[in-house]
């Protein structure tokens, strides 16, 4: 370990199983903590409720992204085919009635734009990519992507207390409780 000054990130506590984590999470939620998270190797069902989280707002992003795609598709096709440079192909009209022919492209662009908003919206909501994180400095955290279930309580949380919180974690069944410190 380095000798630089460190900042406390919070406590990391391991729980034996998904069920244990679930119950502990409910208790942490009830204790009124805000800055905390459960780290699991797979998405545990119902944990959102147990943690008191709201539904993700990502669908809204995607909805508007998709609408933008539809509009782009329509605009691109209609403006170029009807307004700017109408061409006569197979005696098809070059006016509003030709729009059905644009549906495939409008649809594809809707999907494409939705896909991109999903990707970038998700990254923004998850605040990723973030390659460096205090938790990665933990001795045991690497097991979070394997078979371990953790709760991390952040020091930033107003309810955080150096001793009480540790005790609280022990109380709700946390094992291997570790104070995670951030390199500065």
């Amino acid at each position: 370990m380095s000798t630089t000054r460190k900042r406390v990130y919070g406590y990391l506590a391991e729980f034996g199983s998904a069920s244990a984590l679930y119950k502990a999470a409910e208790k942490v939620r009830d204790a009124g903590f805000r800055k905390w998270d459960c780290h699991t190797p797979y998405p545990v069902h119902g944990l959102d409720g147990a943690m008191g989280m709201k539904r993700s707002i990502l669908p809204w992003f995607v909805f508007f992204g998709g609408m933008l795609g539809t509009a782009t598709g329509f605009g691109l096709a209609y403006i170029t085919q009807v307004e700017i440079y109408p061409t006569v192909v197979q005696a098809k009209p070059a006016n509003l009635f030709t729009v059905p022919a644009f549906f495939p492209i409008m649809f594809e662009l809707t999907i494409l734009f939705s896909g991109f908003t999903t990707l970038f919206g998700l990254l923004a909501l998850m605040k990723l990519p973030r390659l460096n994180h205090p938790l990665f400095a933990s001795r045991q955290f690497h097991r979070a992507t394997d078979d371990a279930f953790f709760i991390a309580l952040e020091a930033r949380d107003p309810k955080f207390h150096f001793d009480k919180t540790r005790a609280f974690l022990e109380e709700i069944g946390g094992k291997s409780i570790e104070l995670v410190e951030e390199e500065d």
Partner: protein
Amino acid sequence: MANFFPRWTNFLPLKIAICAGAVATGAVFAFTYYATPKTLAAGYQPSQPIPFSHKIHVDQLGLDCRYCHSFEDVSGTSNVPGSNTCWNCHQHVRKDSPKLQPLRDRMDPTLKSPDFGKPVKWVRVHKLPDYVYFNHSAHLNRGISCQSCHGDVDRMETVYQKNSLSMGWCLECHRAPENHLRPLEEVFNLKYDPQVYFNEHQAEMQNLGVKKPEDLGKVLKEHWNIHSKETCATCHH
């Protein structure tokens, strides 16, 4: 266990994204500005084997375009005059000008130049791709002046390409020919000014129902039944 990635890497993706975005935007603008015919083609001004000045011949001496470019209103291609057109005058005029030496070499048998009888290789200024069939006569006979494409040649000491001659540029006029139409009498008049014409031909304008000089083109278009086309075969066949 320490973090594998140092902290500064957290902002790296964002920085990269911003830089890449900026570079891409810059590249698009740069390409649009520098790599399109507007920049690539317009402004081309090669030096010619004989520094012929349109300014002197047209503006000062008042030669008509067709004196030299004799078939432009007849043929699809506007011809460049043969040396004998130049020689017609210049065997008498400015007989000693060093600038005309190449012409004399070609035309004066007494000089015994090895170039005698050979044509002058003028450097081409306005060049359309092989697959574009622009027809000079079609335009000149329907009230589009030389000026609309070639610019104010009468004021050019050395000819340069005024317009991009890109397809988009052609279409601009084909979609709104009224902006360039002028009376047939004025097609070769490089000093034509609609305002002046309007003032000078009041009665004619009244007859036509033209109230402002800008309307003249529209009226002519209607009068002359001009439907400039945008379909491929207009220029490509």
